[in-house]
Subunit: 161 residues, 2 copies
C-alpha cells in the first residue's frame, strides 16, 4: 500500500501523537531521561496501515499497544528528525500542529544536547507542559522536584557562608 | 483553510464515521425510518476543521456532539450522494472502506426507494449489521421484530384458510 504525503498528514492529524516522556534515570546527570516519541495507534484490524506508515517514514516499530490495539512507535532520534522534517514540509492542519511545533523544538534541543543538564531538562519539561499531553501531573511533579533541588542547593550554599 | 482530497481521505480514515440509524417511525409503511449519516467528530479546539470539511463537501451542519466535542453531520440524501461519489473516487485506506462500501450500497437502495417496504428495510438492516456499527443490539432487535411480524402474518394466513 502506497501512501501519499497529504493522506499521511490527514491521518496523523486524526490519529497521530507527539509525546515527550520524562523518566527518572540514574545514569543521566540531571537524574531524568527525556524520551520523545511519535506514535500512531490503530485497532489490529488496521495493522497494515501501521506497516505502511513504517515504510513511508522508513522508521519505527509496530508493536502491541493495549488489548486489540497496535501502534507504530518511532523513538530513534535520527528517525524523529525525519518525522520532524516531513511535518515541517507538510504541516498538520489541526491544533495538533501546535503540539508538533513544541515537539520539533524539543527534538532540536536534544540534538543540541540540552537534555544533559538540569536547566535543559527543566526547559524541555516547560515546553512539554505546553503540549496537550498525557501525564501532565507527572511532568509537573518532576519540574517541581528539580526546582526544589535548586532551592535546596541555594539554601545549603547560603548556610555554608 | 483549503483541504486537499488526499488529506480529507486520510483524516476521514482516522476520524470519520459512516452510520445507518434505524428508528421507529409511524408514518413509514414499514414502521421504521432509515437514517444514514456521515459524521466527523472533533474537540472544540478543532472546530475550524469541521467548517473546512463542510466547505469541502459543500454540505452538512456543524453542531455540538457531546461536552467539548463538535461534529460535522451530513444527512441529506443529495449531500450523501456527493460524499459517496467522493470516496468512490478517492478510496479510504483503512478497513473503514469496508463500512463505506456497505454505506454506499444502502444509499443506492434508498435512492431506489427500497426503504419504503419492509423487505427493503430488512435488507438494509442486514447490510448495516455487517458494518462496524454502534447500536448493533438495537438493529438486531428491530430485524427480529420485523421477521416475527412476517411469521405472525404467515401464521394468521394459515389459520384463516
Amino acid at each position: 500500500m502506497d501512501l501519499k504525503s497529504d493522506w499521511v498528514v490527514g491521518f496523523v492529524d486524526g490519529e497521530g501523537c507527539f509525546y515527550i516522556g520524562i523518566n527518572p534515570h540514574d545514569e543521566m546527570t540531571a537524574g531524568y531521561q527525556v524520551l520523545p516519541e511519535f506514535r500512531v495507534v490503530q485497532h489490529q484490524r488496521d495493522i497494515q496501515i501501521l506497516y505502511a506508515l513504517k515504510r513511508f517514514f522508513n522508521a519505527g516499530v509496530v508493536r502491541k499497544n493495549h488489548e486489540e490495539r497496535y501502534e507504530l512507535r518511532i523513538r530513534k532520534l535520527e528517525s524523529l528528525r525525519k518525522v520532524v522534517d516531513f511535518f515541517e514540509k507538510h504541516p498538520l492542519k489541526t491544533k495538533k500542529n501546535v503540539d508538533f511545533k513544541h515537539f520539533a523544538k524539543i527534538i532540536r534541543m536534544i540534538d543540541a544536547k540540552k537534555h544533559f543538564d538540569k536547566d535543559g531538562i527543566k526547559d524541555i519539561i516547560r515546553i512539554a507542559l505546553m503540549m496537550n499531553r498525557e501525564k501532565k501531573e507527572k511532568a509537573l511533579d518532576i519540574l517541581e522536584e528539580l526546582e526544589n533541588q535548586d532551592k535546596d542547593r541555594v539554601h545549603r550554599a547560603d548556610e555554608s557562608q
